[in-house]
């Protein structure tokens, strides 16, 4: 087994007094000043995240577009250069191999995948690339090691990025531009995993430390703080963004997970047949949002009960710093998966009342107009 990897910013995190955790084979900062404080600062001002553990895989070549279209559930033929779309890799049974972002560039695509799945995804892509249809007409390059990723998320993020010299004025949500850099480009996209206005910066690994420090300096007066994976998780949970490994995996299909908007059956892709069948058959379970009514915190793996009967399982659960309540995502049988349904969560042998609620739990600001005056 390999040792856990460090991002180019490891020493920066140490110097900031971060507490670390292992995640997807990487040693990552889980918190600096405290998870609740970091979470609320992202919602009120801005947070800086090191996401260099994520994987980036480039697709180039004559059939790059057809290849990505075959691999992904969303319709990449509708994706113009300079735009980004959320998509899924599915296996032949319709189970989710990974969730990802697809960036359409002038000369091909960059796929941004989960850290823990990078090797698995790359191997799967290689297998498809070697089939007769694509062999020699598609190139796949794993650029993860060479690529660092920083995110600035929060209402103050546009001003911070502008102050740091990034031309994000007028950049729409789910779009990107190439920022010229001495020694290579970086990609700056208006994307994120927090529900706030925010940006993600993909840059050469050797430039990461310099940009991290620059952003912290420039953003200091606007309240920018470093934010770890702990707050990243509570931020995305409030938005009902699924986390691979918790809410989605190879045993869940997009219909059950509520990700049908990322599936366009009008094109052929791996898993399409199975998904058509599954849709006809109807869902066996539905991923819903739960809010605790009685005191207790639902955690991944806890059972959802109706009377004495188990009707589902919690996949993600935690405390919402904004709502000051415990919230969760859970797969529940379709009959009980409607808004307003009362259920119980089994927490240490006690049945604690919860309610199915609409999601996101907290309003999204990702499409808010950016004012850079």
């Amino acid at each position: 087994m390999g040792k856990a990897k460090q991002t180019p910013l490891y020493t920066a995190h140490k110097q900031l007094g971060a507490r670390f955790t292992e995640f997807g084979g990487w040693i990552m900062p889980v918190q600096y000043s405290g998870m609740i404080d970091e979470h609320l600062t992202v919602r009120r001002a801005a947070g800086l995240f090191d996401l260099s553990h994520m994987g980036e895989i480039q697709v180039r070549g004559q059939l790059a577009r057809e290849f990505v279209q075959r691999l992904t559930t969303n319709d990449v033929f509708k994706l113009r250069p300079g735009r980004v779309q959320y998509s899924l890799f599915c296996n032949a049974d319709g189970g989710i191999i990974d969730d990802l972002l697809v960036y359409r560039e002038e000369t091909g695509f960059t796929l941004v995948v989960n850290a823990a799945n990078t090797a698995k995804d790359f191997q799967w892509m290689q297998e498809v690339a070697q089939t007769e249809e694509f062999r020699g007409r598609v190139d796949i390059i794993d650029v993860s090691e060479a690529t660092a990723l920083l995110a600035v998320q929060g209402p103050k993020s546009p001003k911070i990025l502008q102050a740091a010299g990034f031309a994000i004025g007028g950049l729409p949500y789910m779009s990107f531009y190439r920022h010229p850099f001495p020694g290579g480009d970086c990609i700056v996209s208006r994307t994120g995993y927090t529900g706030e206005i925010g940006y993600e910066i993909y840059l050469p690994a050797e430039k990461a430390m310099e940009q991290w420090e620059r952003l912290l300096t420039v953003g200091k007066d606007m309240g920018l703080v470093p934010v770890g994976l702990g707050a990243r998780d509570t931020l995305r949970l409030e938005m009902r963004y699924t986390l691979y490994g918790n809410d989605i995996d190879e045993t869940t299909n997009p219909w059950e997970a509520g990700l049908d908007w990322a599936v366009k059956l009008e094109h052929d892709f791996i898993g399409r047949e199975a998904l058509v069948k599954a849709r006809k058959a109807g869902p066996r379970r539905c991923l819903v949002g739960l809010r605790m009514i009685e005191r207790g915190i639902p955690r991944s793996g806890y059972h959802v009960m109706d009377g004495g009967r188990c009707v589902g399982t919690v996949t993600s659960g935690s405390y919402s710093p904004v709502l000051k309540q415990a919230i969760a995502l859970a797969y529940i049988e379709p009959g009980k998966a409607t808004i307003g349904e009362r259920v119980h969560i089994a927490i240490r042998n006690k049945a604690v009342a919860a309610e199915v609620v609409p999601t996101p739990f907290v309003p999204s600001h990702v499409r808010d107009e950016v004012n850079t005056e």
Binding site: G230, G296, I297, Y319
Partner: protein, 119 residues
């Protein structure tokens, strides 16, 4: 007095007050919920008696002595963060009426606990 599992113990007239040490609260991170036992519950030395939940983790707090739970810190229901902010004062967790006061002799002194942290 202290335990190896990072609880502190203070002897009062009607029982011993129990909380978690600064080391423990720091390790846990932001405390968001304290799951108390019922008053009157029997507890045994070394067994879990309170559960303290932080954002990311569920932590057991172990009874330093055997006895009966006679009080819980209800203020923590609305302000669980007191466990982080004032773990030795307003962040106290429960009070136990011990069955056998002799058990207190098994606990660590401040010096012993400091030494433990240094290991």
């Amino acid at each position: 007095m202290y335990t190896r599992s990072h609880e502190w113990v203070r002897v009062e007239d009607d029982g011993v007050v129990v909380g978690v040490t600064d080391y423990a609260q720091n390790q846990m991170g932001d405390v968001v919920f304290v799951d108390f036992p019922a008053i009157g519950k029997e507890c045994k030395t070394g067994e879990g008696v309170v559960v303290v939940e932080s954002v990311k983790a569920v932590s057991d707090v172990y009874a330093p002595v055997s006895g009966i739970v006679v009080a819980i810190n209800e203020a923590l229901e609305d302000s669980p963060e007191k466990v982080n902010e004032d773990c030795y004062g307003e962040g106290w967790l429960i009070k136990i009426k011990p069955l056998d006061a002799g058990e207190l002799e098994n606990l660590l002194s401040a010096a012993d606990y400091e030494a433990l942290l240094g290991e």
